[in-house]
Symmetry: C2
Subunit: 160 residues, 2 copies
């Protein structure tokens, strides 16, 4: 990174870059151009994305960031609290950019793959309850509901 970075980048992305830079400094690592490009690509993404889509995004954009660099950077971004590995029910590894977003969980359509986000405070409360019941200090959770969405129910063939 030599010139003024992050031109044309929105506020959330800029904040993410700042947070990442702080995080890296703490470990004597550096915010390089390649890493910044990956942050920008991740922040531009919505919802869940498999790693190779992120790599494709990078190729389309500036062209910087090799596959290996992306693989090396994603765990750092996760540790820095910028993104999270997404629940995987067997398919390819995916991530979700969580920086600057409210916590939410997901409702996934098993037919069409549509993802609906929901927030429901009662879950958070009960989760703390369960953790404390077992003496655990709660750090995170994965919660995903799977079902058939209204559209797919409508287009469904009558039960055979």
């Amino acid at each position: 990174m030599s010139e003024g970075r992050a031109e044309g980048v929105d506020g959330r992305t800029r904040e993410a870059l700042e947070r990442f830079e702080r995080f890296l400094h703490q470990r004597d690592l550096r915010l390089t151009e390649a890493r910044a490009a990956i942050v920008e690509a991740a922040l531009a993404r919505q919802g869940h994305y498999p790693i190779d889509e992120l790599i494709a995004d990078l190729k389309q954009r500036g062209i910087r960031g090799s596959k290996a660099t992306v693989y090396r950077t994603l765990p750092l971004l996760a540790e820095a609290g910028i993104l999270e590995p997404a629940i995987v029910a067997g398919d390819a590894r995916s991530y979700e950019t969580t920086f600057g977003r409210h916590h939410h969980d997901h409702l996934v359509c098993s037919r069409c793959g549509r993802v609906v986000e929901f927030e429901f405070e009662a879950f958070e409360i009960l989760q703390r309850e369960v953790a404390s019941r077992y003496g655990f200090r709660l750090e995170a959770h994965h919660h995903e509901l799977v079902g058939t969405c209204p559209d797919c129910q409508a287009g469904e063939p009558p039960r055979g």
Copy 2:
């Protein structure tokens, strides 16, 4: 399968074999020796297991069931409701044998990997609530709490 199958097998395993056989019949597939051996190995397992551990079990036991056959059989067992892919937070694909067991969710220690199972009816109720709010027909859910278990908290170095 020619000789009397399932000798020395417990009731739950026998029921699983029966269910699987019915499932296979519906599709004009067959309950072969290799498939039965995989069912037995899966039913003998507790908790989460990566695929290669199941394969190792098979090698130890009767020696039948090649890697490819196991990979081909696991999705069938999942469809038959005998096991389920386990939540994966990034590592290797694992399964859990659910046949004949109460539904439960998991509390996982992020330090030592210990897994505690819990049942909490309130979650189930709220999940139905959320699904119906969005018009989804609920089919399944993945719910995992991540934290530090009591033992690991005790053995923890004082905060630096």
